[in-house]
């Protein structure tokens, strides 16, 4: 990949890019300064690409001794004010959960890319299987909320990474990008916008003027709304006197045990109150649809084809696509699902993590049909067969 003498932004235009590389470039465009990682198929290309590109922007790409050290180095870098990120796969994520839980407590912004691979245990390493979707929701001990993106193309891998870094800066909770083995390795055309356009979207890490303000999320006394301040930076005045991952108040001083419920409320509600701003969804031919396909990630691409064919046959079917899988937009899905004849949820896992979430909000007489696929992609005919069955 030729780059204009190592600048943070690539020359605007169309590039044929691998998924993992597109995500790495998206991170660079949003000001990535530190990457800690460990080689693991299928996410090794991220660290290989950044090992060459990060030093060019004055950043640091470190291959650590194991995944535990990688996520902790990322947290150390983010503590010190550098935009940081790590990329791993299923087994790496399960090693990193303790640190994610700590980062959620002390509200450290970082972006975590999980290039999912098949099966529990080692599994088939080069085939996709959206089995970590459940794990990312509860990625660590304790209760906290996460935000998880599910891109479905290399272009989205580039754009959603910039949104992910912005969410990390504003909501300061763990941010996941749920890519997978195929999406990370396919080469697609990615349209890189000009520098000015990207810079308009990027939120930078800066400390506020009055450094005596709150350092952690707190509840405003009169408006009872949760205020999320800008992330603190160790090594500047805007830093709490003590960073301790126990329930704390807005300045980082310990809270007595009986206030732990209030601390949990702050940790969870800071995402749930902003769910309208956070959750990104997409609709396709949904206005007069009786059968609704709800899905995320790669299966959506096959669903487009299936919907077009079914529409020609006169079946009213549409797609409601989740771009941010977590937090699950309960209210929005409830509105979409009301009055539907049937719901079809094609997912690349057998248990149907999101299918169960959809069942939670649909009333009982509307059938929710799972279309599971593991290690192989959905073919449009698989989904088309289910649509025709339901339409009878």
């Amino acid at each position: 990949m030729s780059n204009v003498n190592g600048k943070r932004f690539l020359k605007p235009g169309k590039y044929l890019m691998m998924g993992n590389v597109a995500m790495a470039e998206g991170a660079l465009s949003s000001g990535l300064k530190f990457f800690g990682g460990y080689p693991i198929t299928p996410s090794t290309e991220v660290i290989e690409h950044l090992a060459k590109r990060l030093p060019e922007v004055g950043g640091c790409c470190m291959q650590m001794e194991d995944e535990l050290a990688s996520i902790n180095a990322v947290m150390g870098a983010s503590l010190v004010g550098a935009k940081a990120m790590t990329a791993t796969s299923g087994p790496g994520l399960s090693l990193m959960t303790e640190t994610i839980s700590m980062a959620a407590n002390i509200e450290i912004p970082f972006v975590f890319c999980d290039v999912q691979r098949c099966g529990p245990g080692t599994g088939f390493v080069t085939v996709p299987h959206h089995n970590d979707v459940g794990l990312t929701r509860f990625a660590g001990n304790g209760e906290f909320e996460v935000i998880a993106f599910a891109p479905m193309s290399c272009q989205e891998l580039f754009d959603l990474t910039i949104t992910a870094f912005n969410y990390a800066e504003t909501y300061r909770s763990p941010i996941f990008i749920l890519s997978d083995a195929y999406l990370g390795h396919i080469h697609e055309v990615v349209n890189i916008p000009p520098k000015e356009e990207i810079l308009k979207r990027v939120i930078d890490r800066t400390i506020p003027e009055d450094t005596t303000g709150a350092k952690f999320t707190y509840e405003d006394i009169n408006t009872h709304k949760l205020m999320i301040p800008k992330p603190y930076i160790v090594g500047t005045e805007f830093c709490p006197p003590l960073i301790i991952h126990l329930p704390h108040n807005q300045d980082g001083i310990l809270m007595p045990e009986e206030n732990s419920l209030r601390f949990m409320k702050i940790m969870i509600d800071k995402i749930r109150d902003n769910i309208d701003k956070i959750s990104l969804t997409e609709e396709y031919k949904l206005d007069d649809a009786e059968i609704i396909i709800i899905s995320y990630g790669l299966p959506v691409r096959a669903s487009y084809r299936a919907v077009d064919i079914a529409r020609k046959k006169g079946i009213k079917v549409g797609i409601f696509r989740l771009i941010t899988v977590w937090p699950f937009p309960k209210e929005k899905v409830k509105k979409v699902v009301a009055g539907a004849k049937a719901i079809i949820v094609p997912e690349m896992n057998y248990t149907g993590v999101i299918a169960e979430q959809v069942e939670r909000v649909t009333d009982l007489n509307i059938p929710v049909i799972k279309v599971p696929k593991v290690a192989t992609l959905h073919h449009p005919d698989d989904i088309l067969r289910v649509i025709e069955e339901v339409a009878k």
Binding site: G6, A73, G76, A82, L242
Partner: protein
């Protein structure tokens, strides 16, 4: 809060009371350590060096692992930027901090279980990379916070809650591990030699590279009260070390300076602590400077 009846902070106070975090936060000195524990004095020595050397708190963040010493943030300097991290992961977090902000020099407080037990892998690679930081290993040869279990450094034949039939495993030696891994400044001292501890700390502040300082500290509650003081020496009749003073005597009896240890045989050095400076190699290349060269090459373009 300063005239709190429970612990009246009478005047005149300790010369470094005003610069301690607990002095500023609570108005009185709260030390949550057991009577006779060595961490209280280590906190004081850190505050002394921090105050005397006028360290810039922005450049010397304090990364504290998990263990009894985690409560030391009450006693360390009030301006120091202190953070508690996960058990064993402090060296990895310090690596991330140093590489993201190369002007910093993190100071890591770690314990013998924290550094040689769960965090062994991060400790080895921290020394291998020779990252510019100071790593303290507080060796009280027991897991104190969780109630006195055996640690990788527990002496042979010692009693603990998980070795009711006396410790039989060979113990791991933090200094040998650091030397083998490649740390550029390695030293060991004890709390009973507070001045040398401050001297090593000041020398480590000026040293470019990983400085590993192991500090032998007594743990009266879970190690001293459960063991006799003839642990290090065979044949003598021992008595229970149930106060700080007795443990200090045992530490002084059991620590042998490195120059004297050269003339002693393996049997004589069994269960003994060798104190002194093991390696001081300022010329070894420091990790972040090496990476700076790579950044300069990369930033010049293709």
């Amino acid at each position: 809060m300063s005239d709190d009846v429970r612990y009246p902070s009478e005047k005149p106070e300790h010369p470094y009371f005003d610069s301690s975090f607990s002095g500023m936060l609570l108005g009185t000195l709260v030390s949550r350590f057991c009577g006779g524990c060595g961490y209280g004095s280590i906190g004081q020595l850190y505050t002394r060096v921090f105050e005397d050397e006028k360290l810039d708190p922005k450049l010397y963040p304090l990364v504290i692992g998990i263990g009894c010493y985690s409560q030391i943030f009450f006693l360390v300097h009030k301006n120091a930027q202190k953070m508690l991290t996960l058990h064993g992961r402090a060296p990895a977090i310090a690596t991330g901090m140093k590489m993201a902000n190369p002007k910093m020099k993190p100071i890591i407080f770690s314990g013998d279980g924290d550094c040689l037990g769960i965090g062994g892998n991060h400790f080895i690679h921290l020394c291998r990379r020779n990252l510019d930081c100071i790593l303290f290993i507080f060796n009280n040869s027991i897991y104190g916070m969780t109630g006195g279990q055996a640690a990788p450094t527990t002496l042979y034949g010692a009693m603990s809650t998980t070795t009711p039939y006396k410790m039989f495993e060979p113990r791991s030696d933090g200094v040998e591990l650091a030397l083998a891994a490649g740390a550029s400044y390695v030293a060991r001292t004890t709390v009973a030699h507070p001045r040398t501890l401050m001297k090593y700390f000041k020398k480590a502040l000026k040293h470019k590279g990983t400085s590993v300082i192991e500090v032998i500290t007594p743990c009266v509650t879970y190690f001293g009260r459960k063991n006799l003081d003839n642990l290090g020496s065979k044949g003598e009749k021992g008595e229970i070390m149930d106060t700080g003073g007795k443990m200090f005597e045992w530490i002084k009896k059991n620590s042998i300076h490195i120059n004297q240890a050269k003339f002693m045989s393996k049997e004589e050095l069994f269960n003994k602590y060798i104190i002194g400076e093991f390696r001081y190699n300022p010329s070894k290349s420091e990790y972040s400077e090496e990476y700076k060269k790579i950044q300069n090459i990369a930033m010049k373009g293709d």
